[in-house]
Subunit: 452 residues, 2 copies
Amino acid sequence: VQTIITTQFIERLEVLIEARDEAQILELIGDLHPVDLAEVFHEITPVQSKYLYTLIDEEKAAEMVAFLDEDVREKFLDQLTSKEIAENFVENLDSDDAADIIGELSQERQREVLSEIDDIEIASDIVDLLKYDEDTAGGLMAKELIQVNVNWSREKVIDEIRLQAHEVENVYTVYVVNDEDVLLGILPLKKLLIEPETVRIEDMYQDKIHRVEVNQSAEEVATIMKKYDLVVLPVVDEIGRLVGRITIDDVVDVIQEEAEKDYQLMSGLSGNVESDDSVWLITRARIPWLLVGLLGGVVVSQVIGVYENEIRIHPEMAYFIPLIAAMGGNAGVQSSAIIVQGLANNSLRLGDAWFKFFKELSVGLINGFICSLAIMIYNVMFGNPSELSITVSVAMLTVIVVASILGTFIPLTLNRFKIDPALATGPFITTMNDITGMFIYFLIGRLMYGIL
Amino acid sequence: VQTIITTQFIERLEVLIEARDEAQILELIGDLHPVDLAEVFHEITPVQSKYLYTLIDEEKAAEMVAFLDEDVREKFLDQLTSKEIAENFVENLDSDDAADIIGELSQERQREVLSEIDDIEIASDIVDLLKYDEDTAGGLMAKELIQVNVNWSREKVIDEIRLQAHEVENVYTVYVVNDEDVLLGILPLKKLLIEPETVRIEDMYQDKIHRVEVNQSAEEVATIMKKYDLVVLPVVDEIGRLVGRITIDDVVDVIQEEAEKDYQLMSGLSGNVESDDSVWLITRARIPWLLVGLLGGVVVSQVIGVYENEIRIHPEMAYFIPLIAAMGGNAGVQSSAIIVQGLANNSLRLGDAWFKFFKELSVGLINGFICSLAIMIYNVMFGNPSELSITVSVAMLTVIVVASILGTFIPLTLNRFKIDPALATGPFITTMNDITGMFIYFLIGRLMYGIL
């Protein structure tokens, strides 16, 4: 049931657009879901887009626009008048999507589009939504919801639901408010259907419900909806009045973005960059961490420089520099990734720091010992000098243990100081590991060659 | 509205459990959501758990058990009889959660628990669900849903919904089937409320709906629900008969696990390991990639070993080994992470390989040039030999460009051969980068010292 847009599909469509063959085009794209249509619009030129758009029905076109990537949408909307945007798109979308789209326009264009919206209620909803930061509950919520007054009769409630349901696409729940619009609870549709006629609204609604305030962060909203398995979550203002509702589909994106943020930090990218972004954007996202790595590499070179004489006499010490650096880096990233992920999905159980320390020490010692033994066997088998063999093995064990412990405690410490713990998995830390690793390796080497 | 379980909370609870102070315990935990209760059960001993469980009401206890981590749940259920599990838990849970829990028990225990279930329909639903692999649509689905026959009268439909709604916790949609139980479409509750009495079911249901087959993978299910913003998705068998439904909350976990899998591969962990797992489990998840790194490090040492004489004469060449290795690793991971993420969230647009190649070449050249220039300035300022300065800068530019291009094409190639592209971000590739990097560095070094 998932439509896959292929290169062949696009090529065929482009030929049909060239030929202005309306009938064939409609046959090709007529049944596409708005999401899939958006994919098509990503692959064709703005001029082709403008023509294609005139063939699609208005509601579908509006939904398609909501699914476009920001950069493609910008180019597409540039070709339309403010009146077209207001009438064709905004009035056909849920208020949250409409506000997101208008929010991307320039201040002047925003004002023009808003003034072209015929329905004053929709316009005022959008003006209201534009006030909130996109990373807050207010920025995620839509205004469309069904609310009934706790004092209404059952007939009035059912009539009102019927009336309001025309406006709201997906009816999950009916909210119950008092005369001041303060949210009291929810009235499941199911209850209206199955409770006997005599039961009053007041005795039917559930009052223990989850809710968030407009200014709570999108991340908190995601955590709450995920933790409590919620499909929809009401949003209230500072004094508890119902102002909107957030549905899970908007939050799935937030959850995904959170996961991607950690991934990007780990891979040394700054900011949310995609493979389709421009060369300039991609370059800008990559260079900062490369420069951090460069700076670290320079420090490492100074550390190694201290041992110039040792290297001149025992050049074989240099052979294992990358190995020691890599093992420290790998062990450090492994232990910090476990902590970062535990913090991100709230699965980190309580427990004191000493317990964590000894556990990590054990893991580090076991893994370090296995690796040290393996490299010792290799070095002996290949007849490398015993000073070198012992140095490499002892340094490897030490580096793995130290990196494991640092990898555990650096993210925990960052988190305590409200700094994103995912920083502890990126190039910053692997560079720190390189520095400590080289320091340990050559220190042990000097000792060994001195002693033996 | 999110409850946070603190260490203080647990300590207080443990004192109360010690004192068997039922009233105070209930005051403390009485209002907790099952998810939060599960967190509490993660922090206390099995013996404390068993006592606490007797104080909680049956339905809440059942939901709490569904939220426990597998290892904690196993220990907890070990203390209960099969009869208790069947009567207290299974019958109070949705069929998908019940099947998940029973599926974790030993074969013998499964049979015992199933035979203790009083309601034959529930038992047969669970037996049915146990057949499916947990990574398929069948493994995600629940049996509870509301279905009506397309030929029924409107009154009969409403009566049936009332009847069935008692069994189903969240009613999102009513499914319409024909006499052979083949899924025809959905009937939104809203329509029943707002359409005039005269409209027949046949003319009221939507027939263009998304559906999946029982054997489709959980990943496909997640992709479809995410892409099309679905809250609930019906599952049909090979001949189109309705057999269950999947709700978004179960899929949010799949989405999260997918993201975590990529993250773990990148950090060199094999398998899904958490910070609370045993030392043994954590060690086992970490050692394979450490050994891969070890093997790579040995190969690198052989590559460097070829240049023993150069290092003896020019020990300063060794200073920049970690820098060159780190820069190659960072640039490679950066470009492969962008591709892996694009593949994972289906955001990678179409486009030919040459276009991607030239784009990556440009990014690599720009970043490589900036870094080479920076390190050249450093080397000149610190009066390092010009041979070394040129070697480091030329090698850095080359390594960054090569790593960027490999980083782009390795995951794309893996993906084409149906191998998880995320492998291209882990220790395997950073090790490959180390090897190529050292090869390039020393080759250029030999050339430079020979020429200049």
